[in-house]
């Protein structure tokens, strides 16, 4: 396992690694985590080994999973991407393959990390500057010589935008008031039946294909019944199923035709 090389027996390093794991929620996303991991390489971000970093990250994700920590999707997406990057970096380039090389992708990742680190550094420098109201001060007594007073009205941009949003959102939701939640579309019904139809060797009532829970609410039941029926006709037309009805108003039954 590469784990052994990365999480070496050095106790301090192991503790540091575990601290990272425990703190998984403390990271602001995969890039932040990568930046923190890259610090353990103790080199200029320009000279960073992206391959080693990718391995560290993958090992981290692996460990986090072992500890059954919930990982947000973007951490997993980054893991998948790094695994891909790792394979590109390790394998000799395939001349027939399109797109950027592993080195180009790695260089871009290194750039992103360097840029993020630079911005953090800049943010710290900014906040360390002398600040108004903390290190230097504006005039304390603004002039109030009694004289003709003029009343003026003011509003902020935020007031303006929120005011506008308040009015417009009233309208905006109107088209959506038509309740789509209680409609089962034919596409949905088709999708559902295609998945289930393989199991229907015997004649079964189409009403048994209604999605769970939909038979309880009359409005939902009506919509689901109609779409399921329409979907059955469509499947019969495609030759996937047979359809029959014993009598007027009798249950409509279907069964799989491709046995």
């Amino acid at each position: 396992m590469s784990d052994a090389t990365i999480f070496s027996t050095d106790v301090n390093e192991r503790l540091a690694a575990e601290a990272l794991i425990v703190d998984v929620d403390g990271f602001e996303g995969p890039l932040d985590l990568l930046l923190t991991l890259s610090r353990t390489q103790k080199v200029d971000l320009r000279q960073i080994s992206v391959l080693a970093l990718a391995e560290q990250y993958l090992a981290f994700i692996h460990k986090a999973r072992d500890l059954r920590l919930e990982l947000a999707a973007d951490y997993l997406v980054m893991a998948a991407w790094l695994a891909f990057l790792k394979s590109r970096l390790l394998l000799p380039p395939d001349p027939s393959e399109e797109g950027p090389s592993g080195e180009e992708l790695a260089a871009h990742l290194a750039f992103q990390l360097e840029r993020l680190a630079a911005m953090r550094d800049a943010a710290a420098k900014l906040m360390a500057r002398d600040q108004l109201g903390r290190d230097f001060f504006a005039r304390g007594i603004t002039e109030d010589v009694t004289r003709t007073r003029r009343v003026t009205y003011t509003a902020t941009l935020l007031d303006l935008m929120q005011g506008y949003a308040r009015i417009r959102t009233k309208d905006e939701f109107r088209p959506f008031v038509m309740d789509r939640e209680k409609v089962f579309t034919m596409e949905e019904a088709l999708g559902r039946m295609r998945g289930l139809i393989g199991f229907a060797g015997e004649w079964t009532d189409i009403l048994s294909y209604l999605p769970e829970g939909w038979e309880l609410d009359p409005v939902k039941r009506r919509s689901a019944t109609a779409s399921t029926f329409a979907a059955s006709l469509e499947l019969a037309k495609e030759g996937k199923i047979e359809i029959r009805q014993g009598d007027i108003f009798a249950p409509i039954q279907i069964r799989n035709k491709e046995r």
Binding site: R147, T152, A155, G163, K170, V177
Partner: protein, 220 residues
């Protein structure tokens, strides 16, 4: 300043040496500039390093400001920096009282900004309530909206547009730079609204209209 040199040895009682008089003068100046109220000598001494002599610093400072646009004046037993009385005529603009614009006016202004040129009827249609005369008058008086071209429709209604003053006040280069609804939402500027499913009851819309109504009648 020869005084500084002679001052320093005198402050033998103090554990730490007081800063030179030039520094003390700077300190008094900064304090009097930044505080909201006049300061007594005791207050100044309380703020300055141990061993300082604010009374003497005040004498120097007063001399320094003689004939300037600002002067050091005594108010009761406290000291303050005040603009020179002969320049009072320059302060006209400082005595402006600002009040918050009413909600009806903010909404009307927003509609003009987002929909300009827009007629009064259109504003009413968008707001869902009638717009009182006072609201439009107020916005015109503030020089935030003005009359635009007449609309070439029956009745040739006047339209309203926003002014350069409006753009300046709200820090916009152009009314087109106002963010759209989607952008407002993604910037977290929209109050969260109930899910569409609940909206059909439309209860809070009713409430909101009520508020508008009250506001409208308050204004006139």
């Amino acid at each position: 300043m020869s005084e500084q040199a002679t001052d320093a040895p005198e402050s033998e009682e103090s554990l730490f040496e007081a800063p030179p008089m030039g520094e003390q003068e700077r300190m008094v100046e900064a304090i009097l500039f930044a505080t909201a109220d006049p300061c007594t000598v005791a207050e100044l001494a309380g703020r300055m390093p141990h061993g300082c002599d604010p009374a003497e610093a005040l004498v120097h400072l007063r001399k320094r400001y003689e004939g300037r646009g600002v002067s050091l004046v005594k108010v009761g037993d406290a000291w303050a920096l005040r603009t020179a009385p002969d320049l009072g005529f320059l302060m006209q603009k400082e005595t402006v009282e600002t009040r918050k614009l009413s909600r009806a006016a903010v909404e009307t202004l927003a509609i003009v900004a987002y929909h300009q040129p827009v007629t009064r009827a259109e504003i009413e249609e968008i707001r869902g309530v009638s717009v009182s005369r006072g609201t439009i008058d107020q916005l015109i008086e503030l020089e935030w909206i003005r009359f635009g071209r007449r609309r070439m429709t029956p009745g040739r209604p006047v339209t309203f547009v926003v002014t350069q003053d409006f753009l300046d006040h709200f820090g916009l280069e152009n009314a087109r730079d106002l963010p759209g609804l989607k952008e407002l939402r993604s910037a977290g500027l929209l109050e969260s609204r109930p899910a569409p499913l609940l909206a059909e009851a439309g209860e809070e819309e009713g409430d909101e209209d009520d508020t508008d109504q009250t506001e409208m009648f308050d204004e006139s």
